[in-house]
């Protein structure tokens, strides 16, 4: 009997000590969960450590969808403190699952209204547009004009010219599908399903991922294929110039039918280091990190006060009427749209 009591006493003391330490001392590490495209220059995360004494430990998932699944599965005991890289296509589901605790980022006023969400559950960090990229030389060789609208590609003249990513395995693929849904609507005379039917008739090629589409099938820039039109990013021509050390972009962007992807960061519900996690979210929106993003991830900083690198200033386009969709609307319909898409293209 005495042993049992001693045991209880020890347990109680241990709990009390654990409780104190969680509340009072600054943790020496925060875990940042992000997707596979995350990249940062040496020294940037170290700058956060210099400011705060906290080390950032990065956990990367294969892609954004896998990351969201992992966060949902571990919500009772989160594996990370901050989630960064969730975009508007998955945001609503994550908020419904109570993944985040509210946080008002220090620099939130620097973010244009159009990028912000109503609640302060997540903070916008960057944005980019998924757009069709064109190979002007490849199109000219086929005797084709450069198209200036999505609907042009339904024309039989553009048969065999387009390669897209499967929306069930690729995030730009999903963005393009959503762009067609936003453009053509669900119930007009020419709904998105009819548009896709025409693309299929026009021998659209569907590949699983961005790199197969861009490097394998696209004929422009560093692509090695034979299709002059590909679903890629508005910043892809910038990357061609930057990595290829070129003076002019070898590819162009079709500014109609782009889809805006906004990436957010949020503090994960259940973190034991909420204050430190908040500091990290603030840091992601500050100049050091924001300035470093464009040339690592080829996205635009959400903080409007951030100067852009020269190559972005000279070569980047930000489409003026990029399609934007309510996250809740996407979440409500994603499964049905993907199933309908599969029926059309199968």
């Amino acid at each position: 009997m005495k042993h049992v009591l001693n045991g209880l006493l020890i347990a109680a003391v241990a709990l009390a000590v654990a409780g104190c330490s969680a509340d009072d001392t600054q943790p020496d590490e925060v875990v940042l969960m992000t997707h596979g495209s995350f990249a940062v220059s040496d020294g940037v995360l170290e700058a956060f450590t210099d400011q705060t004494g906290i080390t950032v430990n990065v956990l990367q998932s294969a892609d954004a969808g896998a990351m969201v699944s992992q966060a949902i599965l571990t919500k009772d005991n989160p594996v990370a403190d901050v989630l960064y890289g969730i975009d508007n296509t998955f945001l609503s589901r994550a908020i419904d699952e109570d993944l985040f605790v509210p946080h008002s980022a220090a620099a939130i006023e620097t973010v244009p209204r159009g990028l912000r969400v109503e609640s302060d559950m997540v903070t916008p960090i960057d944005f980019g547009d998924v757009c069709l990229n064109l190979d002007p030389d490849g199109l000219a060789a086929l005797g084709l004009e450069t198209p200036d609208q999505l609907v042009d590609l339904a024309d039989a003249a553009y048969g065999g010219t387009l390669v897209v990513e499967d929306p069930t395995t690729s995030s730009p693929g999903l963005a393009f599908l959503l762009a067609t849904i936003a453009t053509f609507g669900e119930d007009g005379a020419y709904p998105w399903q009819a548009y896709w039917q025409d693309l299929v008739t026009n021998d659209v090629r569907i590949v699983p991922g961005w790199d197969q589409a861009y490097y394998g099938e696209f004929s422009g820039g560093s692509g090695e294929g034979d299709r002059p039109i590909v679903v890629s990013y508005a910043t892809s021509p910038v990357a061609e110039v930057y990595f290829g050390d070129l003076d002019t972009a070898p590819t162009t962007v079709l500014e109609d039918g782009c889809f805006r992807q906004i990436e957010y960061a949020g503090i994960l519900n259940g973190t034991k280091a909420e204050q430190a996690a908040g500091q990290l979210v603030d840091f992601l929106l500050e100049r050091t990190f924001q300035e470093d993003m464009p040339l690592n991830m080829f996205v635009f900083p959400a903080n409007a006060d951030t100067p852009l690198p020269d190559v972005f200033v000279d070569y980047a386009v930000i489409p003026t009427d990029s399609r934007v969709m309510e996250p809740a609307w996407i979440d409500e319909n994603r499964e049905r749209w993907l199933a309908e898409w599969a029926t059309v293209v199968r």
Partner: protein, 545 residues
């Protein structure tokens, strides 16, 4: 084989079974059950609807059927092409033999994204063979053969090179033809190794993910890819779990059938060190056979490798080493470029513990399987094979939901070599068990006659012979670890980027394609060097046996 012998070995066999059993229970069975429970019992109620949905959906049924038959066909073709190659490497000495054999391991480590590039060049619209196999079952089958040929060549070869050729010579001198000797003498002797390798190839093809993602399409998709789709695109964890259960049931049924097939005990073989068995070809018929086999290997294995090397040196101004130079001295200050030396160091940091864990646990498990009598040994064997047939997505998610207590391992770098070892252990078992089964009876009995204890017999007699097979298993463990991408990418930090992760990054944006190819060539070179190193180590050690 008598009961008294079994009784004598029992205590230490049981003791040896403990580490593999604990390892498997904690790092496989527990995470697996936890994730399936989480997926299928979301709010305390069992989601039967997920199963109904999966079973009644004609698309899912056709996915399951495709998964099964493509795996069967892949296995048959891989074994049929792998056997002559295993024979040539086991029995003949010829110039370039060890280089050629090392080359056959390279596909095993290549990321599927990179293989996709090579296959598109060889079998796509610009094919030098004038075929366009994109979106056909053939591209998938050829890729599975490309990846898995090494399993048959090495798995069967390690037994073949230890079979005394005098048995075959004796049969031939009694008037049997070459083909008949092969069918009636050699094949039965090789049976355990062939079935072992076939089982591995089948499991790999059955759970194929990367190959299908890169070369398949909506009509050619496996359960593994469908689990991934449901879990990451639809966020339907219940459907993903139901599919994972379906996949697991399929794998278990197949493994049980395999257990029944391979039940017949291996024949007792007069084994010889390989140095004595391999000889130079004597007749022109033998030379033609060797040339034809090497030609086949060249076509399937070497062509894609050559394509990748060519791509890594292709620049707008003709062949050059620009992309390699860019890897060493990045032209831009960007974290996209990880120095190859750093990436190699990071890869080795995961590979070495993975090999040690896999070899240690696998060897213990192998001894238990060989020594335990009756059902228990076979059951143990089947359960240890399961990780290879389980969806990587399921295991990965399982780690996340299960391994947070008592110590939170989920963000720990140790989880990477552990995950690699889980996949590599079946390779250690499959390459050592057939050899152990063959040596144990004869040698142990001989040792017993001479008064040695079972442990002594194991250490002094079995171990040296088994070490060669263990080296093969260890080499596969190394290859699995160094080429692995999924688990590594989840835990790898920017500072610990491995070679496959850096290839993925370089392929993930425009303009760095050549650098990605150069990094892939670095990966191939390391694998080739490791394979040749282990091969030469194997040769010198076996010489002393």
């Amino acid at each position: 084989m008598g009961d008294s012998g079994a009784m004598k070995t029992r205590p230490w066999v049981l003791l040896l079974a403990v580490p593999p059993a604990l390892f498997l229970a904690y790092f496989f069975i527990y995470p697996l059950i936890t994730i399936l429970y989480t997926g299928l019992v979301p709010n305390g109620r069992f989601a039967t609807s997920a199963f109904t949905e999966v079973v009644t959906d004609p698309t899912m049924r056709s996915v399951a059927w495709f998964t099964l038959w493509q795996a069967f066909l892949s296995t048959v073709i891989t074994v049929a092409l792998g056997l002559p190659a295993a024979y040539v490497f086991a029995r003949y000495r010829f110039p370039g033999r060890s280089l050629f054999r090392a080359l056959t391991l390279i596909p095993f480590v290549l990321p599927t994204l990179v293989v996709g590039v090579a296959f598109l060049a060889v079998l796509g619209p610009g094919s030098p063979f004038g075929v366009d196999l994109r979106g056909t079952i053939w591209a998938i089958l050829i890729a599975h053969v490309f990846y898995n040929l090494a399993i048959v060549i090495r798995g069967v070869g390690v037994l073949w090179e230890q079979i005394d050729p005098h048995i075959e010579d004796a049969a031939r001198s009694l008037g049997a033809g070459r083909w008949r000797v092969f069918r009636e003498v050699t094949l039965p002797l090789l049976r355990p190794a062939i079935l072992s390798s076939a089982a591995l190839v089948f499991l790999f093809s059955f759970t194929s993910f990367g190959v299908i993602l890169v070369l398949g399409d909506l009509h050619h998709t496996t359960l593994e890819v469908e689990i991934w789709r449901q879990a990451t695109a639809f966020l339907r964890l219940d459907l993903a779990s139901a599919l994972a259960v379906l996949q697991l049931v399929g794998v278990t049924v197949i493994l049980l059938m395999y257990g029944r097939f391979s039940r017949r005990n291996a024949a007792e073989l007069p084994l010889r060190p390989s140095a004595e068995v391999a000889r130079r070809p004597r007749t022109s018929g033998e030379r033609v056979f060797i040339a034809a086999t090497l030609g086949m290997l060249g076509l399937i294995v070497v062509t894609p490798i050559v394509v990748l090397i060519a791509r890594s040196m292709s620049t707008p101004t003709g062949p050059a080493l620009t992309h390699y130079a860019n890897l060493i001295n990045p032209p831009r200050a960007s974290a996209v470029f990880v120095s190859p030396l750093d990436a190699i160091g990071n890869s080795l940091r995961f590979a070495i513990p993975a090999v040690i864990i896999a070899a240690g646990i696998g060897l213990m498990a192998g001894v238990v399987i060989v020594s335990a009598k009756g059902h228990s040994g076979r059951l143990f064997d089947t359960v240890l094979m399961l990780p290879l047939g389980t969806s990587a997505v399921t295991i990965g998610f399982g780690f996340l939901v299960a391994l947070d207590q008592p110590v939170d391992l989920r963000a720990s770098a140790m989880l990477i070599p552990i995950a690699h070892a889980l996949v590599a252990i079946p390779f250690v078992i499959r390459s050592t068990v057939p050899v152990m089964e063959s040596v144990q009876l004869r040698l142990r009995e001989a040792a017993a006659v001479l008064g040695a204890s079972p442990r002594q017999a194991w250490r002094e007699v079995d171990l040296p012979l088994v070490s060669r097979a263990l080296a093969v298993g260890g080499l596969f463990a190394f290859a699995i670890s160094i080429g692995e991408f999924g688990a590594t990418s989840f835990i790898a930090r920017p500072a610990t980027t491995t070679i496959p992760v850096s290839i993925f990054r370089l392929l993930g944006r425009p303009g760095t394609f050549g650098e990605a190819m150069a990094m892939a060539v670095v990966l191939m070179a390391i694998t080739g060097i490791a394979a040749m190193g282990i091969e030469s180590m194997r040769g010198s050690r076996s010489g002393g046996v």
